[in-house]
């Protein structure tokens, strides 16, 4: 089959002052009909810029300065704005990463999908409504009639992504560009959306350019794959061959970073429990007026767990499963209604605010989002020393201890003077754990600290080895 979309030696120049001169350097890709090409790479590798370049929706100051983008033989770079608009939506359609914000909150789903027909066809309103309902049916949204009238905020993330797909496929475009459509979804919904895209692609024979950073997705959906790094295509080919024996060192490094799903070798655990959680439960009551019409959600229902000394207990669950609420209950950020949290003999749940404050020496928390867990206005060293200062250590001594800890977590001790925004995501995670481990805590609770930025950083985090 002749390729329907060809990128021939395309380069995209960034405005002056960026961290590198070109977002894309001499990129050549080809996409045939009825085929899914995955473009994979870390953030900043230029994969999203490729999508924007094809659609000619580059942000201000960014320009294509070389190469051709052929769609059905026509070079899109040469088209004027009016001609390009005809291609967008009808010829090449696009779906985006954040379903939450990708739809106009003030207009109904049916209205926004219908707009595709208003733009590119002269169907009557009734016909448009029928076609939209059919599309919603096709993407298997529960109760299409209700979804038609609903507003974006009334649908779940998955349903909204389905609506986006329906919108994209409204005019049976030749090419569908999917820019990390499943990254922000939780695992089960992610699988459903991938399956949906796979089925629709087979049935309609659309060519799909799928952009992701997750090799799991590549393995599941891609026919061919192209690996990008710093704006260049380092390797491309059949999925099996690229995953089987990656040629380029960078590809090998990326594949190695995917954590295997098998359990680590069992270690001898001590019998004596450091912490026991018995029948903890927490319910949220929101809204309602004088008890009427309240919405009650049982976030944590009668949870009992035991944590042996020196062991790591992993708690897995989807968002909304109550795992964060349980964590916050343990450090008394939230007060549970019932249940005991016994930490070497003391029931934390019954402590007063003052007593809890001194008990914080024995229990610490590291948070999920490295960007948000450090106060941007406070030097990194101070953030680590804070816990010590609060518990009575003199400031200079605390700062010295902080320098020591920086060395321990593999950071340059002099970095204590720098501000959080000068560190990468991974480094910040180390600072957070250093701050948590500053106090001689016997037990550390670290909630799923797998960061969305890049999978390769995660495996080297020190915390896994020591606690």
């Amino acid at each position: 089959m002749s390729p329907i979309l060809v990128l021939d030696d395309v380069s995209v120049k960034l405005p002056a002052g960026g961290d590198r001169s070109h977002a894309m350097a001499h990129v050549s890709l080809s996409l045939a009909a009825n085929e899914i090409l995955c473009v994979v790479g870390e953030s900043g590798s230029g994969k999203s810029m490729t999508a924007n370049a094809i659609m000619r929706l580059l942000p201000g100051g960014v320009t294509i300065d070389g190469g051709r983008i052929l769609f059905e033989g026509r070079d899109l770079c040469g088209l004027d704005e009016a001609q390009m608009r005809k291609v967008r939506g009808a010829g090449i359609a696009m779906i985006f990463q954040e379903p939450m914000t990708a739809l106009n909150p003030l207009r109904s789903i049916g209205d926004q999908i219908g707009e595709m027909f208003e733009l590119h066809s002269d169907l009557s309103a009734a016909e448009i409504k029928a076609r939209t309902l059919a599309l919603l049916e096709e993407v298997r949204i529960p109760d299409p009639a209700l979804a038609f009238k609903a507003y974006p905020h009334e649908l779940s993330g998955g349903q909204r992504q389905r609506a986006m797909i329906a919108m994209a496929l409204a005019l049976d475009p030749k090419v569908l560009i999917a820019d990390e459509p499943t990254t922000a979804l939780d695992v089960t919904t992610q699988a459903q959306i991938l399956k949906l895209i796979r089925d629709l692609q087979r049935r309609k024979g659309t060519a799909v350019l799928f952009i992701t950073h997750d090799f799991g997705v590549v393995a599941e959906i891609a026919d061919r794959v192209a690996v990008m790094s710093k704006g260049e295509v380092v390797e491309a080919g059949e999925t099996a061959s690229v995953l089987g024996n990656p040629q380029h060192a960078y590809t090998r490094q990326l594949i190695a970073a995917v954590p295997p799903l098998k359990a680590p070798p069992p270690r001898a655990l001590s019998e004596e429990p450091i912490m026991t959680i018995a029948h903890v439960s927490k319910t949220y009551r929101t809204g309602g007026f004088l008890g009427r019409g309240q919405r009650v959600t049982h976030a944590v229902k009668d949870v009992s767990l035991v944590l042996p000394r020196g062991a790591t207990l992993g708690i897995v669950g989807e968002s909304g499963s109550g795992k964060s609420t349980l964590a916050r209950c343990l450090v008394r950020l939230i007060d549970p209604e019932s249940g005991e949290i016994r930490l070497n003999g003391i029931d934390l749940a019954s402590l007063s605010r003052e007593e809890m404050r001194s008990a914080t020496r024995d229990i610490q928390m590291v948070f999920q989002d490295p960007f948000a867990s450090l106060n941007p206005r406070r030097k990194a060293g101070e953030a680590v020393a804070q816990g010590l200062i609060v518990h009575g250590m003199a400031r200079p001594e605390a700062l010295a201890r902080a320098k020591e800890l920086f060395g321990l977590v593999g950071l340059d001790p002099a970095a204590t003077e720098r501000y959080p925004h000068e560190f990468s995501g991974g480094q910040r995670q180390r600072i957070a754990s250093a701050s948590a481990s500053a106090l001689p805590a016997r037990w550390r609770w670290s909630r799923r600290y797998w960061s969305p930025t890049s999978r390769s950083r995660r495996s080297t985090s020190p915390c896994r080895r020591r606690c």
Binding site: R85, G89, A102, P105, G287
Partner: protein, 325 residues
Amino acid sequence: MRVLTLAGRRLAASIPTLILILIGVFLLLQLAPGDTVDAMMAQMGGGDAATAKQLREFYGLDLSVWAQLGNYLWRLVRLDLGFSAIYGKPVATVIAERLPATILLMTASLSFAFFFGLILGVVAARGVNKWPDTLISTLGLLFYAMPTFWFGLMAIVVFSIYLQWLPAGGFEDITVSYTGLRRTLDIALHLVLPTLTLGLFYMAIYLRIMRGSMLEVLNLDFVRTARSKGMDETRVVVRHVLRNALLPMVTLIGLQAGTMLGGSVVVESVFSLPGLGRLAYESVIQRDLNTLLGIIFVSALLVITINFIVDLLYARLDPRITTGS
């Protein structure tokens, strides 16, 4: 209708605010030197101690502060705003006489400011950093920085004396009695300059808010989706951006209703308009507590109603409110 309960709850919540204001101002004005009888004698140019004592008893000023406050609140509960010392008439009638001028002035200035603020804001946002943006923004800043009374007086000098296009002041021309349309036209003519004077300051604010809000919305994801659907820029703005950008503008109306009445004190005195603003200023000078509190009560109701309407408008614009996110 969920939005009615929401707006209704807000209305109920504003009752304690209103009581808080009234009691606060009542006690505050007790501390002012001199009372309404002193002010009356100042205006009369004379008066002996005996008449002063008589008048004080008549106006109930000889009671203790708390007794006076108690009387006032007890009457307020029965919606009786009391008696105006300046005009010897019930406060309600005095305010009713002055209300039309103020409402006309405020609605005219508010709609002028909102309408032109919106249009200029959109034009500035579309041509950001190009000459229309800088021109409009600087013009906006100029009107924002200019003291309103100064602009008013200069406008009189230019438009009514030098060019003789517009009347120099007053609410309508009473030397000759018009009726019906002719009278409304005459009043409109009298309100042109005051509306401009009061409106331009607020137009500058709406202009800046609209420009900022447009720029903010243009950066959101769903605008990128809209463009990827093959829409031209105008349709993107009209069908998607404008409605979202209007939300902060609508809330602003609610917030500014109060300050606008404050602004009208100066404008009404420059253009000798018989409005609540000037009446409030006179009642402070004349220490006429009943009238002042009556005006505050009415202007608070005005502001609350405007906020009530703004809530309804906001709910119509943003479905997230009614369906309860």
